[in-house]
Point group: C2
Chain length 244, copies 2
């Protein structure tokens, strides 16, 4: 069985200029791994209409599910919702369900529901809303694309409410074995192991810290017994973590 | 004058599985901003031949310069060099210049130049080598694509030696003004400001920390006087950082 696939689209000049270090990609990657969905591609594009539309059109076609992050706030450069509508060829306007949610929220807060805030109630036709428990202005899902905020706290809350609706594959089991030898020494036995356990995914991650160096071997698969067998095989070849 | 453009391709399952948090994107984004090159797109793809080749072909055509990170180590899943060769339709084999560098290094170290390590001397025809002061095995440049290692220390060293050879645009001046008001309040004045200063780039970045919330406004441009004028304009509208 192959797992369902996913892609992520991160929208925003702040990542590409190096001003902000992306946190949402790391969060989503971990959440998807837990439920057995394979994140296959991430794209980061700037607040540019053509770039956003082209990326959404390409990703929604090639992957089972697409998650977007960023560009749905109230400012002039928040153009994601309009771009998504265009990518799906549907109309977009301030929508009553989103408007009502936000209107009630600002009334309860005693603050004004300004025209710029109303931008955040623009939702494409046929989309369903994604709850925003942090600041109310919702995300939305249209077909296989989930459109979410870029602020990490809100993004994480939206991912938590969307993920149970996305059917995952078998969760991935992952085990790590640390070998106190460089990747050059480990590579050949690892290649043989990868051939023997072709149903598993083997990764090697060199580390170098405080003068010590070595390689972490991560073995992943959906069958726990197979993962354990591969780890035992590796342990037999590099007993005692490869320390001579 | 428009700045030269760049794209980055990050190769590796470890980012997409959430095992490793990407550091190279953040580093490169900052370095490019300093020298006035606009990073327009980042893609992260898995260790998959077709995905890597397709991404390189697409990016090298659309942007002035492409930087890749990852997949040039000695293990079975390090396939970047071969994919780049294929994307450029050139041959690839162990190349004497790379071989000699590494051979001398391992001899000096008293360690063996194994067959698996020799994988790292595979360099596409017509490419020039990028120095690796950390662990010798080189990266390479072919036309407008710079192929570098994924280990952050090595990636950073390679970026440092490549960047002076890439002609940048005018360095970007960036100034930030902190406003202790939500993005919904700031959005409208900001839109007017963006119209008035259409030669500058204005970004708003909401923050929420320990109960306090507000918006950082970042104004970027190549003309320092214009950036300062826009900041003064904004300060006049929200004196005292917007604190009432």
């Amino acid at each position: 069985m192959t797992n369902p696939t996913a892609a992520m689209l991160v929208i925003g000049d702040e990542i590409l200029s190096g001003r902000t270090r992306d946190a949402n990609m790391y969060h989503l990657a971990n959440e998807l791994t837990k439920v057995g969905i394979d994140l296959k591609e991430v794209r980061v594009v700037s607040d540019d209409k053509d770039a956003i539309i082209a990326a959404i059109r390409s990703l929604k076609q090639r992957f089972d599910t697409v998650f977007t992050s960023g560009g749905i706030g109230p400012t002039h450069d928040d153009i994601t919702a309009d771009c998504v509508a265009q990518a799906f060829d549907v109309a977009i306007d301030v929508r009553k369900d989103a408007y009502d949610l936000m209107d009630a929220h600002y009334k309860a807060q005693g603050s004004e529901f300004t025209e710029t805030r109303m931008r955040m109630a623009r939702i494409p036709d046929t989309a369903t809303l994604i709850e925003n428990p942090v600041s109310i202005a919702p995300g939305f899902t249209i077909e296989n694309v989930h459109v979410m905020a870029g602020v990490p706290k809100i993004f994480e809350a939206m991912v938590a409410s969307v993920l149970p609706t996305v059917s995952g594959g078998e969760p991935l089991i992952s085990q790590t074995y640390r070998i106190e030898r460089g990747e050059g020494i480990v590579a050949e036995p690892l290649r043989d192991l990868a051939e023997k356990y072709s149903d598993l995914s083997l990764g090697s991650y060199p580390f170098q810290k405080n003068g010590a160096f070595g390689t972490n071997i991560v073995i992943r698969g959906t069958d726990e017994a197979r993962v354990s067998a591969a780890i035992q095989d590796l342990t037999a070849q590099f007993p005692n973590n490869g320390v001579e």
